[in-house]
Amino acid sequence: MLTRKEDKKVIIIGGGPAGLTAAYELNKSGIRSEVFEKDDIVGGISRTVNYKGYRFDIGGHRFFTKVKVVQDMWDEVLRKDFLLRDRLSRIYYRKKFFNYPFEVKNAVFGLGIFNSLLIVLSYLRAQVIPIRPENTFEQWIINRFGYRLYKIFFKTYTEKVWGIPCSEISSEWAAQRIKGLSLFSALKNALLKKPPADKNVIKTLINSFHYPKLGPGMMWEKVREIVEEGLCRVHMNSGIEKIYWHNDAVLAVETCKDRTTTRISGTDFISSMPIRELIAKLEPLPPSEILKAGDKLNYRDFITVSLIIDKKTIFEDNWIYIHDPNVKVGRIQNFKNWSPYMVPDPEKTSLGMEYFCFENDEFWSMSNENLVDLAKNELEKLGFAKKSEIIDGTVVRMPKAYPVYDEEYKKALEQIKEFLGKISNLQLVGRNGMHKYNNQDHSMLTSMLAVKNILGGHFDLWKVNADQDYHEEIKENEQLDKQLSDLSSTQPLIPSAFAMKKSSGSLIEKAIIRVFSRLDKFAFAVAVGTASFLFLFLATIFLEFKGDQNIVQSMLLLNNYFVGYDISIKGAFIGGGYCFLWGFISGWLFAYIRNLSLGFVIYKEKKKLENQSLKDLLDYI
């Protein structure tokens, strides 16, 4: 293996966020690289398409991250072109807007008295008789919101996005998506409330986001310019067709441009192309079980129909969720609300009508003309514009927009990981590159770490999650400390109310377990009973021997309650027995009441936590 930086040449497959971040980091480190992008535009799914001066994204792209190095790179590249935008995204149902993040109150009031009553009844029913066992996404949501709210606010949209009935989606999926915070953190937060300043931070993060002036594509165009001024070449329209490997290393890739194939060798290879395709392009082909595993990775595809409307304002939201089952459109983006610079004429509006489908299904195969026509009809049906006001439209198809987490993907991915893990100079990064349903920041972070690996680091890219877990792990692994001095800033930028230091956290956690764990009712009852028994027993025996009449008389009053009690050995047993009984009952009651009240606190916190994350569940669907 070559060690000198100057002798390295890294081949990067894909000019999306992952690929270009790798190029950016390599360039900074003084290492040569070549990016091969099969399309004529950089940015991958985070591109911005320019149609007659109207810009639109493949789904609006919020720039939001907990990872400081990622935020730093965005700031560094975009500088003053990085806008901070207010977020408004509501649910549109029956020609009415409902607040989002989700508010039950608003949902109930918006639907009229009769519907509200039905909603409340179905909610109560779900609380009293929840569906057990809770196996599917449908059951999971019904148990938390009731059937009516589920049907209106979750079923249609989820099924539009994923193309499968909610009754076939596993409940685990929802639980995973919801588990932004653990109950534990919630209890910690409840116990150690931070001053209001932090609340503002949280609020700001929820209600606003960063966005490049000319859309996410601007970020990646700029990165391309920067790296091309340095040590990187970016080849457009240059899809990788073959990846030559031998033993434990990739030797070269083959690209095809204008029908000319070229073989390019390198020392290290970073791939952000979909794993399924990568496997199929290996030369020689991998064993058949790996090829089969590759075929088991599925994707959901995405079509944006962008419409230009001769109207200044249509709705104020950045985007809206369409829960109406009578139209196919799932979400509508209003790009000039993302950034006013996205439209060339402020008197007009461009909307991105988003459709979720499978590559080559009936919808995907429709002609562009028909798609634009359908989108126009749906926009009119929804009441946003008359067809005559829609002056133009275009279609962008984005295959493999979402890696699908179905029953088979996990095992298949494990097999592929194991096989590719043996190829030492190939690293997989990014969204489809790792078959991870994550955002830009995840893609970027995996690439940053891949570059660290090329420089001698030992990071397991598969452990990088969209949440902060691995980042904390990275921080804590002392052996990697040195390499991480640059990366120390990977510390997540999460609102600090949630960012508890682990060292103090573990003490707090222990204390929380101690305070909130259940008191065993039976054990406590027996313990109090036994101690009470012993107390009266010993006191009676003591008096039996001492025999002071004054106190004997007073003690004898006890037999008003403890029939048969007197100051004698027998009496000591009888009195002790009574004491045991009363001690047992009081111990049991005490433990019961204590558990009940603490259980209530835990339940309340859990509910609060769940509702908190349920509120923006649609963001994750």
């Binding site: 534990f184 008191l519 054990a523 313990a527 001492k546 004054n550 106190i551």
Partner: protein
């Protein structure tokens, strides 16, 4: 971290808390000690009544504690002595409760395994 949290959450929701015998003993000791201390001084401040022989009687019932707690009287010094006895008795009582409780939890856990 995630797994740890899940584990902790599970422990939180399913595991029975173990009592710290020392802490529990100390707390119960303090409570009983303070009850005797306050009750004694309360009686002293409230004052007693004059007995048939003209003597002032304060807290005759509480005074009976002196039978168990040798040296205890309903007086300020007695209240301090009472506190010490109460503290000791409460501590023993608390430690005993925790010990029995933890034993039962232990037995239950080993039986469940």
């Amino acid at each position: 971290m995630n797994e740890l949290n899940e584990d902790e959450e599970k422990r939180l929701l399913t595991e029975a808390v173990k009592l710290d015998a020392t802490v529990f003993g100390l707390i119960l000791g303090l409570i009983i000690g303070l009850i005797i201390f306050i009750a004694t001084n309360w009686l002293i401040i409230a004052g007693g009544h004059v007995g048939p022989g003209g003597e002032v009687i304060i807290g005759p019932h509480l005074e009976l504690l002196g039978q168990f707690f040798i040296g205890y009287k309903v007086s300020f010094v007695g209240s301090i002595i009472g506190f010490v006895y109460g503290f000791a008795a409460g501590s023993i009582f608390g430690t005993l409760i925790s010990w029995v409780y933890n034993k039962i939890i232990y037995l239950r856990n080993t039986n469940n395994k």
